[in-house]
Amino acid sequence: MSLLRQLWLLVITATVVAFLGSAVVNLYTARNYLEQQLYAQSTDSAASLALSMTQQPKDAATIELMVSALFDSGHFALVRYSNVDGEVISERANSGEAGQVPQWFIELFPIEVATGQAEVSDGWQQAGRVTVIAHSRFAQQALWDGAFKLLLLIGGAGLLSGLVMHRLFLWVKRPIVQMVGQAEAISERRFVTIPVPRVTELRAVVQAMNTMVERVKTMFAEQAARIDALRSEANRDALTQLPNRNFFMGRLAQALGDEESAPDGALLLLRLHDLIGLNRRLGRERADQFLQSVAGKLGVALSAQPDALLARLNGADFAVLLPGEQAELAEDLAQRMQAGLAELRRAELADQPDLAAIGIAPYRASEAIGTVLARCDEALAQAEGSRNGIQLAQRDATPPVRSGQEWQAEIRRALDKGAFRLAAYPVLRQDGTLWHREMMLRLQQADGQLLTAGTFMPMASRLGLTSVLDLETVRLACAELERSQDDVAVNLSAVSIADAQFVDKLLALLRGHKAQTSRLWLEVNEFGFRDEMMALAEFARRVRPLGCKVGIEHFGRHFGSIPQLYELQLDYLKLDSSFVQGIEMHTGNQQLIKAIVGVAQGNGLMSIAEGVQTDAEWDMLAKLGVQGMTGPVTSRREPR
């Protein structure tokens, strides 16, 4: 029984008890008083009548008249005159009923009127006796009215106090409900604070809870900051704060190997001339300053390209990865970089006219990393001797370029004809058993050739078709779920999950496959921005009832954006391959992964490593507590 109902019951019981108690006391008191009044009336009337009769002749007519006169002028049940021998000489009686008073009430609270008597004399002689009984009708009516008014009054008071208590309870209930919500949120590892209520007894509890939550938040924030620091430390060049070689190579491998990667792009290598000589001539301090300035100038030259990744590979070598960009743009950027470096010379930070050479190599996603690097090195060597210090490596053939309209038509065609396919990449548990399959969308062209997501997704994004393709992916995944017993993971874009219409359609689709949705894993790219995190939290909240798992992929790809995991209700993280590669030899990344896995476990999240290539990496990751692996290595480990 709810507290509110119990309180109401209490009020009703108290009202009934109060009514019965006061009614009984009241009615008995009132009845007692009324009986005495009636007795006084009887006695007084008897005395008056006796006094009058004593003065009058005692003939029958006079007696009759006097008895009648008294009886008719007042409210009496009985007026009687009897002689000294007790014989009744004259009597008038009225046994009328007590008006509108119910019989049961009269039986419950009868009014018994005591008899009033007085002696009548005739000179010195006794003449007789007068007996008078006042009528109780009006007293009974008064008693009934009193009881009725009492019932109304106490009933009204009971109702009023009940309503007041109801309001009071609701007032107290609100913070209690909020507290319950907070407790439930905490049990789900969501750490939220609630407003401090005005109810004194609850205030202390809420304050204590809020303080605890704040502490936990601080703790997590510290952890996240530590992870960020580790990430930075392990993957950045200490002097220039640019990504280091290890990180760059990881990203290059992704650009060449990932399903989602752009189909082509460009790689730039920049080498500063004679850094050793510079070091010697200007001193180490000024040389360091020079290197930092170089990093700054290169950053400015690339600031228009958000996807460009600039890194310092080693001493004098810098590299730029331009995924999805054509060689022409790369050349343009290289010229801007050279122009930036020329400014350094004018600012007399360098003493040589010719500061650096830049080699450019266009690549295609399917190429091997060694081939691309070798081609770029070759171009760099040629650039050393060239006039402007820039050399573009030749590539065998340029793939046909499609226009926006052509892409739109192609995607529409594929949607209509059902030409989208899913490519599956297994994710294994530590013990090598299949955990789930990550599904990638592919487009089957009219000629049968399959295009990877990296090829058409950037165009779809430009055309505003991302959500449509995401929905198509989920639809295909649901079909896959019905076909097999394995779990299936699909990627959704940040744009889609922030789109309420998309989420509505998604939920409608998923509701049609309720039996399978618990085997569906939905993952989104790592989030950095606050509003995107809110969108993800809202998305997770809406999808959760269907049993879908929600996670983040490529976690840690971007610097300084480790999301505040404790505010999201997520199920898993997929750790970005850029710090998975060569993990067994990289202690910095080992620490980083250990820290991330620690936070993930603390928040009830599973962690999965992306892009695992070797058994050595696998073993190290397993040792660090990573629960699942995906990447090239799975093709060797997956049980057949």
Binding site: N32, Y33, Q36, T54, G116, E119, W124, Q126
Partner: protein
């Protein structure tokens, strides 16, 4: 000849039941708390011994065993008429009309006609006279004889051997007890006995406090004399 019952019994008065039990426990004078009465008198007279009270107690004790009401009437009338001086209320109590209790009358050794009548009435009842035979009677008295034109409101105690009998008059104006016919100076106006005004033994209820008679009874009870 039928006599109607003169006591009214209130049905559920535990108080009266307890009182009856107390009475039947054999106290010398039934509902008389001698020590309380004595204490009251001491307070009134300043601890002066009061032979009248002792005499009264002796007389009551003696008359309880007497046979016949005649001797009782005789002795009680004689005691009060001899030992109590007539004094009107305004002199004695500072009030126009004050009904003194027997003890107050003892303490003052004086009283007016009502005080005489009251004291005689209760003493007779205490001595064993049936209260149904006694009446307190308001009379118009011709002062100085039957032919006098000076009249005065007066109260006497009358005794009816039977309801139809000619009453005997106990009066403080004339020392001896005479039948009513021999009192031409008195003209009866109204009489009452305690049935008309007082419910014997009942706990006094608020409305009854208004009655003079009840007021008297209450004061008597407070003074240790519960009739």
């Amino acid at each position: 000849m039928q006599t109607s019952p003169v006591y009214r019994h209130a049905p559920f008065h535990t108080f009266s039941i307890i009182l009856t039990i107390t009475l039947s426990l054999g106290l010398a004078v039934a509902a008389v708390n001698v020590s309380r009465m004595q204490a009251f008198l001491n307070e009134q007279t300043g601890n002066k011994p009061l032979p009248l009270f002792a005499e009264w107690r002796r007389l009551v004790a003696e008359l309880r065993n007497a046979s016949g009401d005649e001797i009782r009437l005789q002795r009680v009338n004689e005691l009060f008429n001899r030992r109590i001086a007539f004094l009107d209320d305004i002199t004695l109590w500072g009030e126009a009309d004050y009904w003194a209790t027997p003890l107050e009358t003892f303490a003052k050794a004086s009283g007016d006609c009502e005080d005489f009548t009251i004291a005689k009435y209760f003493t007779l009842v205490e001595s064993g006279v049936d209260p149904a035979r006694l009446r307190l009677t308001y009379v118009k008295a011709r002062i100085g004889g039957a032919q006098s034109k000076i009249t005065q409101a007066h109260m006497v105690l009358t005794y009816y051997a039977t309801p139809q009998a000619e009453p005997l008059v106990l009066d403080n104006l004339i020392g001896e007890i005479r039948p009513a016919s021999r009192r031409p100076d008195l003209l009866p106006v109204f009489s009452f006995n305690r049935d008309g005004v007082y419910v014997g033994g009942a706990a006094p209820a608020p409305v009854e406090r208004l009655s003079r008679w009840t007021n008297l009874i209450l004061r008597m009870q407070a003074q240790g004399y519960d009739p």
